[in-house]
């Protein structure tokens, strides 16, 4: 049994190594910010349109002088949104700069995490009508099954909320902003998107302010006929795959 498991593991590891291709290596060396080695990997078996976001978790990486290139003090990377709508999916891993005397990364390995919403039909909530808000959580089965509540506040509710605070502590909104109460104990919300009157997706930025979340967009003031799309991370749509790259020449 142990032998079979071992063989399976070897087969899996080989598959992992073959499943990525090095696209680009960028060794950005500076005395200023963002001094890092980035390796872009192509995933030939996955289309870019199926990946909404990705991140790479590196477990080990060494150059030809034996230097450890993993930045153990860095925060765990967060999922980065994928804006590429054609070709194969690609991801990028970030390492420490190797010394100038190094010539290659002997090996880098870890896991690639892909957020693929289509893999779980119950992970996208599209709300045809969410404005004007009434302070009650909007209703959708995907939100409910993931334990997520989103409630859009009315201007009167925001005023009432602000009345409890000192002047300096009050939440002030720009014309394009909306205040919401979000309850997401399992951290399932991956992204919010408005769908405008023409059916075009418009990016939504969310920031926490006091006990509220503020939604903003570059696309102008949200209109009553706009829709809201909420992408949720679930066990089904979050795919992790091991990767390993060897002998990556340094530029």
């Amino acid at each position: 049994m142990k032998k079979i498991l071992f063989l399976l593991l070897i087969a899996f590891a080989a598959n992992a190594a073959d499943s990525v291709k090095v696209l680009q290596v960028n060794d950005r060396r500076t005395r200023g910010s963002f001094s890092q080695l980035q390796i872009a990997l192509e995933l030939p078996s996955i289309t870019s349109t199926s990946v909404a976001a990705s991140r790479v978790l590196v477990s080990s990486a060494k150059d030809d002088a034996g230097n450890d290139l993993v930045d153990h003090e860095a925060q765990e990377p967060s999922l980065e949104e994928n804006f590429r709508k054609q070709g194969n999916a690609s991801v990028s891993l970030t390492l420490k700069n190797p010394p100038r005397s190094s010539t290659k990364v002997v090996e880098a390995k870890g896991e690639i995490e892909l957020f693929m919403p289509a893999k779980d039909p119950n992970s996208t909530a599209e709300l045809a009508k969410f404005l004007p808000g009434n302070g009650k959580p909007v209703s959708h089965k995907a939100l409910k099954s993931n334990g997520v509540e989103i409630a859009f506040l009315t201007a009167a509710q925001l005023d009432a909320d602000n009345a409890k605070r000192e002047e300096w502590d009050r939440v002030k909104l720009d014309e394009n902003e909306l205040a919401v109460r979000v309850n997401d104990p399992q951290k399932r919300i991956q992204s919010l998107t408005y769908i405008d009157s023409k059916g075009e997706p418009q990016r939504v930025m969310m920031r926490d302010e006091k006990t509220l979340a503020i939604l903003s967009t570059w696309a102008g003031k949200p209109a009553p006929d706009w829709k809201l799309r909420v992408n949720l991370r679930t066990a089904k749509n979050t795919v992790r795959m091991p990767f390993a790259v060897k002998d990556v020449a340094l530029p």
């Binding site: 680009q24 290596v25 960028n26 060794d27 950005r28 060396r29 500076t30 005395r31 200023g32 001094s35 700069n97 100038r100 005397s101 010539t103 020449a249 340094l250 530029p251």
Partner: protein
């Protein structure tokens, strides 16, 4: 020797100023004359230096160049080549009189002997009021195993106050569209720029459109240079996408046309309101095709009909150059 004396007196003399003043501090020893034979000359030179330092003339500015940041951006792809980006701080006495500055690189080599200036293109003059006067320039990436880069070049300052011919004011400049801006000084400086009417602008854009024959010529040129046909097509599509659209240009835009050589001789063009002060022009751009340029200046508010224009010309007298040398430790 004089440098040591000056240093004791608290004066700093950059390499460039030394050469400018006729010194030989950086010449090879073989080129120097024996000290005894040159004592009289040295004394005269010292006197000249002290006299010149005491004059409040900009020509004696003491330019000091200091490395501020260095980024070696190394890439392994064919499409994006890496580069060595450098930022230097430039200061010195009388620097406040300089409107703009730029770095000109004469020689740049890494310690493995690679020439990093082979593709160097001088940057345009950069206004001193931005980035605390820091200047950036770009060189070819050094060898991976290099540790140092040695640079020789000069800091070129634009000091329009040094030359009365560097500032040209055109009264009621917006009143005569489709005629060249008229001034003897502009003519002498070989600056031929025409204010375009809206109709002339639209016609000019029409003539610049990348049609099938122009696209074919670009493909042919690409073929001659062995460029990847896919990349050439990408470039053509990009150029088409970047073409100016007259409908996107507001009605109050000031449109100027001329040869790219003419525009290269101009540092800046200000539009002056009725009070003689520059009006706010938050958007400016210049597009060049072949040897032809169009400058678009979009003011924040409609300029008055009697608006004049102030052109700052890059005349030889208005520019002064100070050599420098720098050794950069690579990150």
């Amino acid at each position: 020797m004089f440098r040591a004396i000056l240093a004791k007196k608290g004066w700093r003399l950059a390499v460039g100023s030394w050469r400018f003043l006729g010194g030989y501090g950086n010449e090879e020893p073989a080129n120097r004359q024996p000290a005894t034979a040159n004592r009289k000359g040295s004394m005269l030179r010292a006197l000249a230096i002290l006299l010149m330092l005491s004059l409040p003339v900009f020509g004696q500015t003491n330019v000091h160049v200091e490395l501020d940041d260095v980024t070696d951006n190394r890439m392994n792809t064919d499409m994006f080549t890496g580069s060595l980006e450098l930022r230097v701080k430039v200061d010195g006495t009388n620097m406040d009189k300089a409107t703009a500055a730029r770095v000109l690189i004469k020689e740049a080599r890494d310690d493995k002997g690679n020439d990093l200036a082979k593709d160097y293109k001088p940057a345009d003059f950069f206004a001193r009021e931005y980035n605390n006067g820091a200047l950036t320039f770009s060189l070819t990436s050094p060898a991976r195993n290099a540790s140092k880069v040695k640079l020789k070049g000069s800091i070129e300052l634009y000091v329009p106050s040094r030359d009365p011919g560097a500032m040209v004011k055109i009264e009621k400049a917006l009143s005569k569209p489709d005629a060249p801006l008229s001034s003897k000084t502009l003519k002498a400086a070989k600056v031929d720029i025409t204010l375009l009417s809206r109709d002339a602008y639209v016609k000019k854009l029409e003539s610049r459109k990348i049609d099938d024959s122009k696209a074919a010529a670009i493909r042919e040129e690409g073929k001659k240079h062995g460029a990847d046909p896919k990349e050439v097509e990408m470039m053509i599509e990009l150029a088409k996408a970047l073409q100016d659209n007259p409908n996107e240009i507001p009605a109050n835009a000031i449109l100027l046309a001329g040869s790219s050589d003419s525009f290269a001789r101009v540092y800046r063009i200000d539009v002056l309101g009725s009070d003689g002060k520059p009006i706010d022009t938050p958007q400016r751009s210049t597009s060049t095709q072949g040897g032809d340029s169009i400058m678009t200046i979009i003011p924040a508010a409609d300029p008055p009909p009697n608006a004049s224009m102030q052109l700052y010309l890059l005349t030889p007298k208005s520019k002064m150059s100070t050599p420098f040398e720098l050794t950069v430790e690579l990150p």
